[in-house]
Amino acid sequence: MDNQTATQPNLAVGRYNYDEIDHGFLQERINQFRSQVERRLKGELSEEEFKPLRLMNGVYLQLHSYMLRVAIPYGILSSKMLRGLAYIARYYDRGYGHFTTRQNIQFHWTKLEEVPDILTHLASVEMHAIQTSGNCIRNVTSDEFAGLAQDELIDPRIYAEILRQWSTLHPEFAFLPRKFKIAISGSPNDRIAACFYDIGILARLDSQKKPVFEIWVGGGLGRIPVKGKLIRDDVAPESFLAYVEAILRVYNMYGARNNLYKSRIKILVQNMGIDAFREAVEKEYQVMDQEKFKLSPEIMEQINQRFGRPVLQDFPEATKILDQHRNENPEFNRWIKNNSHPHFHNDYFAVVIALKNIGETPGDITADQMDAVANLADQYSWGEIRVTHLQNIVFGHVRKDQLYKLWKELVKNDLASANQGLITDIICCPGMDYCALANARSISIAREIAKCFADIELQEKIGSIKIGIDGCINSCAHHHITNIGILGVDKKGEEFYQIKIGGSSYKDDAEIGSILGAALTAEQVIEAVKKMIDFYLDKREEKETFIDTYRRLGAAPFKEIVYAAA
């Protein structure tokens, strides 16, 4: 398209573009790992010695094969990167990849002996698998609408990139008590589940109307779900990195290292209490060399210069043309209604490409679809692709008059599901079909539930609802904080499923769900979801969503309806 002009045409839009230092660092790291793999295959390193080394490079041994988890910093890909991932899926894996709830992508069928070559290919498109495993600061996640949201106060991608550069090979934080996850948004409205991260960062306006960060700490899911605490709500952007450093120092110093289940920062904050924890952080913050971490305008500009930006053009006819297309085509109209998001520029929309086709695996994408999305991104959204923590894809800047053409192309590629935010937009971990930690399958449950609600009109009637399905208590699919959460459990080698109800992910009404009752079989849990939805449809009052009805009525009637005949 001729309107796809970027501020710096040689730089990919929306993300940090590597310089020579970045390329050199990755090459050095790959050479190191190649040598480690060779030594392992020759038997010079035992599995015990090798395991931490492979994990530092994103390589897990799962049920069927080695899995490679590739980082997508703050969830943003260029079309070149996505084509690189398609190549890996096609030539090193089995033709597909799986987007995770932490904005990473996983390849489930890699061979250890080929991983160094895969990493070399990744590096050629400015990607890597560092910080996707181990007790380090993991890949930083962000708002999928960063840089375009109408409510945005600060562009979080610059800060996420600073966190990435700061945390990569940070000498003090390479071996933390446990893994550490940070999410950041530049908006006051939480779209990142800020209260459920080790550190969750949102922006707000202070009393002087200046943007500042509010920082949540000690949240998390897993075996012990905890809603984080607000540690500071007035961190100036230039002091942001110093304050995060101070938090990490306190965690590194006091976090438990002798008990895997007590080693996350959430336990430390719980044990100390937020006031004492805050006091310890403030003390560290006051004595540390703050100047060293100060984000001066020069540093910010240096990072900013490595980001390409789209030059958005006014096109006054855009909305009129979009409306005309919407009137002419009800399916397109439905897709726009459910899958679009407002853009700060009135002539543009962001659109969600849902990877949630009925009966398919949530978050999976084939190599052919990756190539198709990359081509469409080049045509319609400056070659920029965003991956969401809800396992979908976003095109950030599509001019409204172009949306109909884009949608028709998505239909051809089986990528036009209009179910974003509806009951079939299920979050789902790989579960026991792949994962060595899982107790039960999750994908099969997600597929069956989606089939039960395949009728899009029924989905729209049900309205906004979030279902998360996990194969184990690690909670990659956020079952604790989805409206209906399903957790796979093992009973003597057979799969059962526990239901949680009433969870909610985002700051204003963040809540951990309650266990509904005894675990059910796979067939029973699918029936249970159907019964709960039927009950909700019967009992809801005007404009109530599922969570509204649950909050009004409480868990008891849902429990009764599920277990009465079970």
């Binding site: 295959l41 080695y66 695996t361 026991m432 079909d433 080698g493």
Partner: protein, 111 residues
Amino acid sequence: MAAETNALSEEKCHIITANRLSDGRVVWFTEQGYWSVLLEEAYIFSKEDMEKAMEQAQQDVEKQYVVGLYGVELKPTTRIPLTTRERIRAFGPSTHPEFNPRAIQEISTHG
């Protein structure tokens, strides 16, 4: 371990599994002492014989052919693993029936 001794019985319901080091594929310890990606080629041991068999298989861990060695129990008188997890390991992800090792016809690697 003669072939005729590999018959199914109430007593013999244990097999040995691991992942192949080079590519991570699920493999099963066979009568001939090599590792096969096909469950039907796994040798079935009695509980009493497992200790000795595991010792033998362990040599292949030390030789770096396989990792993560352990025993798997079968449903009595069948070649089907007792737990869902092991059935998934044996037959591939239930979401991708085309990835069943038999369907893929991967070649066994000698251990």
